[in-house]
């Protein structure tokens, strides 16, 4: 009696099995519930992708409108950004150079400091020091950027003006310093995780061969962590590139190609933030700001692609690269 439904189940017969009814019923409800939960997760997973797609669509729809009146070349390489003049100039080259200058200088400051902090936390500091310092470094990342901008504006800028006797303290150097402070925790935290992920076995192997700690660090640990450290550096730089509030507050806002670190600049995100509120909806200027958004998006996308490439390229798997 009991064997018949089982046999039917095995042969795949769809005849309902009376004897096994309770079991079958529970099975059905659990698969229904599973399917439902699955759908929830799928929806959650696709939600951000869809939002992202819509934003990009919107960005391009609004931004590309500009290129019916301004050529791409004039836009990217034009040296004058006078959006409210008549006739207006929409050359964002000074803005790009402002962003690049600030990003480059802040990286030059943040990379050695961030990597150095990671090396200290991961390799030199005692366990207890590390337990205290690492959260502190990560806390730095949670500092609102507007607070940093405030510090740059009210504390650093007047000091710079006094020390070096320059017309304004709101300049490339000031903005770079504030951005470096923002990028350091990203770089330090990701790099430290990468150092931490290098198997202990390998370090022990090196030490057991009579390597000093420094030799082990430079020959085994850093090469093993280089992909993660590269990723951290690039993400930190990309953060500095896209950051808006700090550059809006302390970069000075002059749309000129910088020739010194004491020049004021107007990076791309600051331009959008400063001008979007004052521009008539649908005007040429409005479209130009969206076009800047596209450029910015492509720049940060580029950074992230490079980060992904670096993390894959230098992974120590397969063919040895060392």
């Amino acid at each position: 009696m009991m064997q018949i439904p089982q046999a039917q189940a095995i042969t795949g017969s769809r005849v309902p099995a009376m004897a096994a009814a309770p079991l079958t019923k529970r099975k059905v409800t659990s698969t229904v519930r599973e399917a439902r939960i699955r759908r929830v997760f799928v929806a959650a997973g696709f939600f951000s992708v869809i939002i992202m797609g819509l934003i990009i669509l919107f960005l391009f729809k609004e931004g590309l409108g500009l290129f019916s009146t301004v050529s791409v070349k004039d836009f990217l390489f034009g040296e004058f950004w006078y959006p409210t003049y008549d006739p207006a100039d929409f050359g964002i080259f000074p803005l790009i150079m402002g962003s690049v200058a600030v990003a480059a200088l802040s990286s030059a400051m943040a990379v050695p400091l961030g990597v150095g902090a990671a090396l200290y936390l991961g390799e030199v500091a005692s366990h207890r020091t590390r337990e205290i310092l690492k959260p502190a470094v990560e806390l730095l990342a949670s500092l609102p950027s507007v607070v940093l901008g405030f510090v740059g504006m009210v504390v650093i800028a007047p000091l710079m003006q006094q020390w070096w006797d320059i017309p304004t303290g709101l300049n490339v150097l000031n903005a770079s310093m504030m951005l470096a402070i923002m990028a350091i925790p990203t770089i330090a935290s990701i790099s430290e995780d990468a150092l931490h992920a290098v198997p202990r076995d390998l370090m022990e192997a090196s030490l057991a061969l009579g390597a000093t700690r420094l030799e082990t660090l430079t020959r085994v640990t850093i090469p093993g962590a280089i992909s993660g450290m590269g990723t951290g550096v690039i993400l930190g730089m990309s953060r500095a590139m896209g950051e808006t509030m700090v550059v809006l507050m302390v970069a000075g806002g002059a749309a000129q190609i910088p020739t010194s670190i004491f020049d004021s600049v107007r990076p791309l995100p600051a331009t959008i933030a400063a001008e979007m509120g004052e521009t008539p909806f649908g005007s040429e200027h409005y479209h130009a700001l969206f076009a800047i958004g596209i450029v910015l998006f492509l720049l940060t996308l580029g950074f992230n692609l490079v980060a992904a490439y670096v993390s894959r390229r230098f992974q120590q798997k397969g063919a040895a690269t060392l």
Binding site: A208, Q316, A319, A320, L322
Partner: protein
């Protein structure tokens, strides 16, 4: 005259620290206690290890064999909160004397770990790692050293054509023999092997035995 003799004696080279006396056991352990924090892992260990012999330590798992081995090249001090009591004499010098450099100890007391742990480098660079630390740069000497070490570990025939491929492409047993070759390349006076064959093919012990026979070394398994 006085000056000359003084200068001949005064600079005690690290190499001279462990003076070889052929009759003396290479390692003597006296009343050794070892603690991980509050936990005492080894209690009153006394033993001697003879020169040019293979010495095996046996015991149930968790009884402290690995801990003891790791004391012999000062690897345990990398673990925070550990403490050593008693004497551990290598060539008559206590390894835990304040003046003894752990790096020097590890160069002379090699170690092969339980799990194969080759570097994610080429096979060649794995074996050449130690000699390079010694400052050996000349390609011909390095080639020679690598070949000899791999032959001693009975791995040469299998890898001689793929020396510049990743060591991670080797099988587990090959990786372990590579680790043995890597340790041998340092020409240590004592080679500590922590159950190197536990997961592996039977050739490593045979290979390392043949290596020990034609050198003045002691091996612990």
């Amino acid at each position: 005259m006085v000056k000359a003799s003084a200068s001949a004696q005064a600079p005690e080279e690290p190499r001279e620290l462990f003076r070889v006396h052929p009759e003396r056991p290479i390692i003597e352990v006296k009343g050794l206690n070892f603690y991980y924090g509050d936990f005492q892992a080894l209690t009153g260990v006394n033993m001697t290890v003879k020169r040019n012999k293979v010495t095996a330590l046996i015991g149930p798992s968790g009884c402290g064999k690995s801990t003891f081995l790791r004391l012999l090249n000062r690897m345990n001090e990398l673990i925070p909160g550990t403490r050593v009591e008693g004497e551990l004499l290598f060539e008559g010098v206590n390894l835990y004397d304040p003046g003894v450099d752990p790096v020097e100890v590890r160069r002379r007391v090699g170690m092969v770990f339980q799990k194969p742990n080759p570097f994610p480098k080429t096979i060649y660079n794995n074996v050449a790692y130690g000699p390079r630390l010694h400052g050996l740069r000349e390609a011909r000497q390095l080639d020679h050293m690598v070949e000899r070490s791999l032959k001693s570990a009975a791995l040469w025939d299998e890898v001689k054509d793929i020396l510049h491929q990743s060591a991670l492409g080797l099988s587990g047993g090959q990786q372990q023999r590579l680790c043995i070759a890597r340790a041998i390349a340092m020409q240590p006076e004592v080679l500590l092997m922590d159950e190197p064959t536990s997961a592996l093919d039977p050739s490593p012990p045979a290979a390392s035995k043949s290596w020990s026979r034609n050198s003045n070394k002691a091996i612990l398994l």
